[in-house]
């Protein structure tokens, strides 16, 4: 079983090597979704094992899979496959219309797989240092994905993303180094001073004053990488310039990795410092994120940036749930990550189709979509409904649970502010969405559309993602035990 | 106040006043030789002073009392500092006032009076020079205070004799970060306050750049001689302060004549070495543009600031 953990990151890495060796063609392209499916499959095997017999260690204790890790592996596999399947269709179209070259397509394929491999290392690493290295690796890999189109705006976005991303993640490294320092000076030996599982056992003995400094840096650092306000300005640039499937992967899966790291470290902080410190930081970041999203979504003119700001909003909600910290809230946070990942992946992928059809990312360049391209319109609209927490999609369930647990935890004021901001966001998205889907005007003229034959592959990715999102919303029956065990890891 | 202490203080004043024009002569000679000129003889500054003293005193009708008093205040403050600072012995006569803050403000007094005198003449150049000089002083003065503060932290006293004695007792502190940083900061300030390149050029009368020369443009005869002598003296005092605060070896701890003689030789060598360095550097550097002078001084302020942080947190 422990070999399985070591092999896990090598599945996408092997596909990356395959694409690097043979280029992007029909066979290698379909290896990408296959890798995601096998990752999901391995995740389920691991989940069964973990639920029955407890956490599994590997590689001399550097790697460790508990219920939370297993859940995140399945999450990466399932949500990653939406963008992987859509990526097959997307690159085919771009190669067809000359928007990209076969060399760049190859680079795209390699980098997507490397990102997934690094994300798998993030979730199976027990060592906080390894965790950091893996997260920084995802930044480096995705920077080149953001620069995929190589035009002015994408160069600008990748520069801003890399500079802000490295600074943010460097702050997290400083925090991690200080965690190591505090652990060493509290008598924990070098080999286990960075291991999460042993730190959890010994967190009582750590010096609270120094640990507070360390955790402060870590929260700021990983918060930046997750896209929490006030350092969220790179999010709309990077997500709007990345090719649609890469944006889907970054917004849907990658941002969840930093939240995962935050949740893990929050456990240590809560034991050493009591829940107050991280809770305060997270509530501030969460409300600022919601505020930033609400104020900028109303006046937004670019639908990809609108989606990016919606990511800031949802990461804020997850942070709020993490701040509440009760078992119900943590389950809701994990469920929210899953629901947001699925819905946001579908939304970004359908925005890619939208861009192929209209040739613009401006909101006022898209009118009457539901009449003229019913399928794309329906997918785009439904994914937005999922993001706006409309049932049956799972975000409805998770937001409801966050509100309930917040009220139970006497954080009514924070919940009240959050709900008001969510209503503002709801209103502005509905206005923009109605304009795009049903609105009339000069750009509703049919001649403005570019001929683009939607492929079955793309349709499969979009419908599949939405169906899973809805199914998770109706019942998470096969995974409910896994979700609750994972939440217990974090809420003790 | 002991008799020997008074004698030492008087000896210091006499020696520094006598040596200051010579030092300027040596620096000018070094510059001239490096530039390939024969250069004036070393005694030339003394001859200039003698010539100026023999001339008639000319004062503009439009000037007030500040103009007449300024040269005296400038020279008196510099001479007083020359007596206070431990050049020869740590046993200073004026031990109670041998305080770094007192020294700094005595030197500042001279600067302020010179600027006031520049304004007093009512000419364009005088005002310009005074404003530039005040700009520099406004940044240089806090730097000196902060740097000195850094030195006093490790000693626990701002008494000059005590600081020198501490450095003598613990030689390792001379190479500690705080004293190196404070030294760098004070070196920059010395350059600025004594009007050397790259902040000011003592040999220029170009209206765009001059600072010191602009303020003293209206002086002539004996008044000019006093100001020149005071300027020379200030250079010696600053260099002596720098060398003895950071490299105190050779200074006498008693007031015995033989030790004093050795101390005088030691301090002369140190001052001469620093002056030669300044002269050589002046040959190879250009004066910085006036608006970049605040950047230079801001840097020295930061160095002094870092010295204080280091002395607090590393000690």
């Amino acid at each position: 079983m422990s070999t399985l953990i070591v092999v896990l990151p090598f599945i996408p890495a092997a596909v990356a090597a395959l694409i690097a060796a043979f280029g992007w063609n029909l066979t290698t392209a379909w290896c990408a979704p296959a890798a995601c499916w096998s990752v999901g499959g391995v995740g389920m095997v691991l989940a069964v094992r973990v639920l029955d017999e407890g956490p599994v260690n590997a590689f001399g204790g550097q790697l460790r899979v508990d219920a939370l890790s297993a859940l995140m592996i399945i999450f990466i596999g399932v949500v990653g496959s939406v963008s992987a399947v859509y990526g097959v269709a997307y690159i085919r179209t771009e190669l067809g219309n000359g928007a990209t070259t076969s060399r760049r397509a190859k680079l795209y394929g390699v980098l997507m797989q490397l990102t997934i491999a690094a994300m798998l290392v993030v979730v199976v690493a027990d060592n906080l240092g390894v965790l950091w290295v893996a997260i920084e690796t995802t930044t480096i890999a995705t920077v080149l994905l953001v620069g995929h189109r190589r035009d002015r705006t994408s160069v600008e976005a990748s520069w801003k993303y890399l500079v802000l991303g490295s600074v943010g993640v460097a702050t997290a490294l400083l925090g991690t180094v200080l965690v190591y320092f505090v652990a060493r000076h509290s008598g924990i030996d070098a080999s286990s001073a960075l291991r999460w599982s042993s730190l959890v056992d010994k967190a009582h003995g750590l010096d609270p004053g120094a640990f507070r400094v360390a955790i402060g840096f870590v929260v700021v650092g990983y918060g930046t990488k997750a896209g929490l306000a006030p350092v969220h300005s790179w999010i709309p640039d990077a997500y709007s310039q990345a090719p649609a499937p890469a944006a889907a992967l970054m917004a849907g899966v990658l941002s969840a990795m930093s939240m995962y790291a935050l949740l893990r470290l929050k456990v240590l902080a809560d034991i050493t410092l009591g829940p107050g410190f991280v809770r305060t930081l997270l509530i501030v970041a969460a409300l600022l994120s919601l505020l930033a999203a609400a104020s900028l979504m109303a006046t937004q003119r670019d639908y990809k940036r609108l989606l990016a700001y919606s990511s800031v909003e949802h990461m804020g909600l997850v942070a709020l749930a993490a701040a509440i910290g009760s078992p119900l809230a943590i389950s809701a946070a994990l469920l929210h990550l899953i629901g947001h990942g699925l819905a946001k992946s579908v939304a970004f992928c359908s925005s890619g189709e939208l861009l192929f059809v209209t040739g613009t990312t401006r909101i006022d360049g898209v009118r009457g979509l539901l009449h003229r391209r019913p399928f794309i319109g329906a997918m785009f609209g439904l994914s937005w409904l999922a993001l706006l927490a409309v049932p049956p999609f799972s975000i409805f369930a998770s937001e409801l649970a966050i509100v309930r647990s917040g009220i139970a935890d006497r954080l009514v004021w924070a919940i009240a502010i959050a709900v008001v901001l969510l209503l503002v966001i709801f209103g502005s998205v509905v206005v923009h969405g109605l304009d795009m889907l049903t609105g009339g005007g000069h750009s509703a003229d049919d001649s403005s559309l570019i001929a683009h034959a939607g492929s079955v592959t793309a349709g499969l990715a979009l419908v599949g993602g939405l169906v899973i999102a809805a199914a998770v919303g109706v019942t998470i029956w096969p995974f409910s035990r896994l979700l609750h065990t994972a939440a217990e890891v974090l809420a003790r | 106040m002991s008799l020997t202490g008074t004698a030492v203080a008087l000896l210091q004043v006499v020696l520094t006043v006598g040596a200051a024009p010579l030092l300027i002569g040596i620096m000018r000679l070094i510059r001239a030789r490096l530039e390939g000129r024969v250069g004036p003889p070393i005694l030339q500054p003394w001859r200039d002073l003698r010539k100026l003293l023999g001339k008639q005193r000319m004062v503009s009708d439009n000037t007030g009392w500040v103009f007449s008093v300024a040269p005296l205040v400038l020279l008196a403050s510099a001479a007083l500092v020359a007596g206070i600072v431990p050049f020869l012995s740590t046993q200073s006569a004026l031990d109670q006032v041998g305080d770094l803050f007192a020294v700094v403000y005595l030197l500042l007094l001279g600067t302020v009076f010179l600027s006031l005198a520049g304004l007093d003449t009512g000419t364009a150049f005088g005002g310009m020079g005074a404003s530039r000089s005040m700009t520099i002083t406004a940044i240089a003065e806090p730097t000196v205070l902060v740097a000195i503060f850094a030195l006093s932290v490790s000693t626990g006293s701002s008494n000059l004799g005590a600081i020198v004695a501490t450095t003598l007792a613990h030689p390792a502190t001379a190479a500690s970060p705080e004293s190196l940083l404070a030294f760098a900061a004070l070196a920059v300030v010395t350059i600025a306050e004594t009007g050397r390149i790259p902040v000011d050029n003592p040999n220029t009368h170009l209206e765009l750049t001059m600072i010191h020369e602009a303020m003293v443009l209206e002086y002539s005869g004996p008044d000019l001689a006093l100001i020149e002598l005071a300027a020379h003296l200030r250079l010696v005092v600053f260099l002596g302060l720098l060398s003895n605060l950071f490299i105190p070896w050779g200074i006498a701890t008693t007031a015995r004549p033989l030790e004093l003689l050795a101390a005088a030789a030691a301090v002369a060598v140190k001052i001469l070495a620093l002056a030669s360095v300044i002269a050589v550097v002046e040959v190879f550097t250009a004066k910085v543009r006036l608006f970049r002078v605040p950047e230079l001084l801001a840097a020295s302020f930061v160095l002094a600031f870092l010295a204080v942080t280091a002395s607090f947190f590393l000690a």
Binding site: E136, A170 | E295, A310
Partner: protein, 219 residues
């Protein structure tokens, strides 16, 4: 090595790392600032070497050699290439002037001391007392990124932040486990390499590396 010599050398080397951060805010020519970053790498390696020799840890001395090669030669060389590739005037451009950035950096030093008070209180070792220096270098690197308008200067800011973290690493715990050290080093190398590639792209697209031109993306 006696204890006083050790403390002396350590303080000097660590102090030099911080002073160089100030110098890179003060200097105006891009090439000179690049050289400063290289010297900072040397000073950092000296810190590691001094601690390694004093504590007789050969691993740390080896790490010092690695640090010296990477941070004093390879990474500055990458930045230097980016600097020299630009034919536009090679002077620092900043939103705030030099005295203001120096004063801001001084304030950040105080912030670093205040923030790490609890960390320093944990031990009385001379290394631990110097940890605030590393945190100050990190903050000054951030200041450099926020205020400087040249792509290469932001690159140097990123590197300076990493130098500061490395300093904290050496001072606090005599380095982290070697695997992580290597992972961090390779990530930094990759990041700086990609930054250099991106400056080339910026120059190709905009004809300059002045970041004021990067404002197509805004709300």
């Amino acid at each position: 090595m006696s204890e006083t010599t050790f403390v002396q050398l350590l303080d000097l080397a660590a102090g030099l790392v911080l002073v160089i951060s100030f110098a890179s805010l003060w200097l105006r020519r891009l090439v000179t600032v690049t050289r400063m970053i290289a010297i900072q790498g040397v000073a950092l390696a000296a810190v590691a070497a001094v601690i390694g020799f004093y504590e007789h840890e050969s691993e740390l001395v080896a790490v010092a050699v690695l640090v010296c090669v990477l941070r004093a030669y390879v990474l500055p060389a990458l930045i230097r290439r980016a600097v020299l590739a630009g034919s536009e005037h090679r002077e620092v451009e900043s939103i705030i002037n030099v005295p203001a950035s120096l004063l801001a950096a001084s304030a950040l030093t105080l912030v670093a001391y205040a923030a790490t008070r609890d960390v320093v209180a944990l031990s009385s070792a001379p290394q631990v007392r110097a940890i605030p220096l590393g945190v100050s270098v990190v903050l000054i690197g951030m200041l450099m990124i926020v205020t400087r308008r040249k792509a290469v200067l932001q690159m140097m800011g990123v590197l300076m932040i990493d130098n500061g973290i490395a300093l904290v690493m050496f001072l606090g715990t005599s380095g982290v486990p070697l695997v992580i050290e290597l992972g961090v080093a390779s990530d930094v190398l990759l990041a700086v390499f990609i930054l250099q590639v991106l400056t080339n792209r910026i120059r190709n697209k905009f004809g300059d590396t002045d970041l004021d031109q990067l404002r197509a993306l805004r709300d």
